[in-house]
């Protein structure tokens, strides 16, 4: 295969991953690494390096659109970024030491768990308004967001240590596997800290970029980031996610999400099988 054809195919694949990732809200990273390793036969270390770069691009590229909606909380994000960035450094440190077979198996397990989360999210519980912990206001984490009737709706948060612990885990996964781990970040805010869902998802988007930046320097120095891969993957995923975000309202999201859930599940099983048989 010529370099030009390889680059074009890689760009097309990354575009599709970015598009699907934006449309389903699951991010492009989770399908990108399986795509690179299983289809393009790229070593998993190069794959997670290229994926992490695309994660930073998507998070930053979507930022302006998210800001306009007025949901995100810079304080909740910044406070929890202490946990995610330290986790990301730890994860990147692990990634340079763990055997690639083990990396592939962990990746497969994360994919299967993502599929489970995605399936579960279709049954999203109605948020209940409740009083948060006294630390919510002391740490200035209480805030407000535009409610459905246009009036600002106040919220408080609870269980900050629990949320921070889970955020450390999200950061570790991000640094270990080169993914955004947005689903875990949303879970930590939405389920554990009882941050409203919309605030959780938009704040998570900003956190993804900062978290990924913490491990990207380590990846770069370790030689995980190859320019020949980073070029088509970064631009492909970025274009795909920007187009996907634009058509989000028009698309049949529930059908797409169902298909995507099965795809992720299948990829997860294949990653584990390939990892176990040392075929990657």
């Amino acid at each position: 295969m010529t370099a030009l054809l390889f680059t074009l195919l890689l760009f097309a694949g990354s575009l599709a991953a970015g598009l699907l990732g934006a449309l389903t809200g699951l991010g492009g990273g989770v399908v990108l690494v399986p795509l690179l390793t299983l289809v393009f036969h790229v070593d998993i270390r190069y794959a997670i390096g290229a994926s992490l770069v695309s994660v930073i691009a998507t998070s930053s590229g979507a930022a302006a659109a998210y800001v306009r909606e007025g949901y995100s909380s810079v304080r909740i994000g910044m406070l929890l970024e202490i946990a995610t960035t330290i986790g990301a450094v730890f994860g990147a440190f692990l990634a340079t030491r763990i055997h690639t077979q083990v990396l592939a198996i962990i990746f497969g397990l994360v994919l299967i768990y993502s599929a489970y989360l995605s399936w579960q999210q279709a049954r999203h519980p109605v948020p209940d308004l409740r009083k948060g912990s006294p630390w919510s206001s002391k740490l200035k984490l209480s805030g407000q967001y535009p409610g459905p009737d246009g009036k600002p709706q106040k919220y408080e948060v609870e269980n900050i240590p629990g949320g921070a612990t889970m955020m450390f885990g999200a950061g570790t996964l991000s640094g270990l596997l080169g993914i955004g781990s947005g689903a875990v970040k949303v879970l930590a805010m939405d389920r554990v800290m009882k941050v409203p869902f919309k605030v959780s998802t938009t704040t998570s988007n900003f956190m993804i970029g900062v978290t990924a930046a913490a491990s990207a320097g380590i990846y770069l120095h370790r030689g995980f980031i190859d320019p020949g891969l980073a070029f088509p993957v970064m631009l492909g995923v970025l274009c795909g996610s920007l187009v996907g975000a634009r058509y989000l309202v028009k698309a049949n999201v529930s059908l797409l999400r169902n298909i995507f859930t099965w795809v992720i599940l299948a990829l997860g099983v294949e990653m584990i099988a390939n990892g176990a048989m040392n075929k990657l």
Binding site: M1, T2, A3, L4, L5, F6, T7, F40, H41, V42, D43, R45, Y46, V53, I56, A57, S59, S60, G61, A63, A64, Y66, V67, R68, G70, S72, V74, R75, M78, L79, E81, I82, T85, I86, V89, A92, L139, K140, F206, G209, V210, A213, A214, S215, A216, G217, L220, H221, R222, G223, I225, D226, P227, G228, L229, A230, F231, M234, L235, L238
Partner: protein
């Protein structure tokens, strides 16, 4: 000692919403700039690369000019396409870091000591992870 206001007009307080809008713009500009550099480097890279695609099946790290800051300077000076792509990647990595630095300044303007400390911690982790690994 109390500072006198600069002028008599009502100064709009610099609050979180303005800060978020500016940070959103900052990220957008950063990612655009990084993408442009990566695209230029990528086109030059493809132009210089004749024949078959490199083998990515086995991992063999990257040469120093694509991994280390001080060696990247030499690569850029000689116009090496792969190094130009890595420069774009570096710009991309710097984008969220710049956002944290901007938030730090904004919190300082708001005199929010707690969040100045929080932003400083995040910034320290980011910078340490980058420069300690170099």
């Amino acid at each position: 000692m109390r500072k006198a206001p600069v002028d008599g007009t009502q100064v709009k307080r610099f609050g979180d919403p303005q800060m978020e809008v500016m940070m959103g713009r900052l990220l957008q500009v950063g990612v655009l700039l990084a993408s442009a550099v990566v695209l230029i480097g990528g086109v030059l890279y493809l132009h210089a690369q004749h024949g078959s695609a490199p083998n990515y099946r086995s991992f063999s790290s990257e040469p120093a000019k694509l991994r280390q800051l001080r060696d990247m300077g030499h690569g850029l000076a000689s116009g090496d396409p792969a190094t130009i792509i890595q420069l774009g990647v570096l710009l991309l990595i710097a984008t969220p870091v710049a956002r944290v630095a901007f938030a730090l300044v904004a919190f300082a303007i708001e005199r929010d000591k707690l969040y100045v400390a929080v932003s400083l911690t995040v910034l320290a982790v980011l910078l340490l992870s980058f420069f300690r690994s170099q």
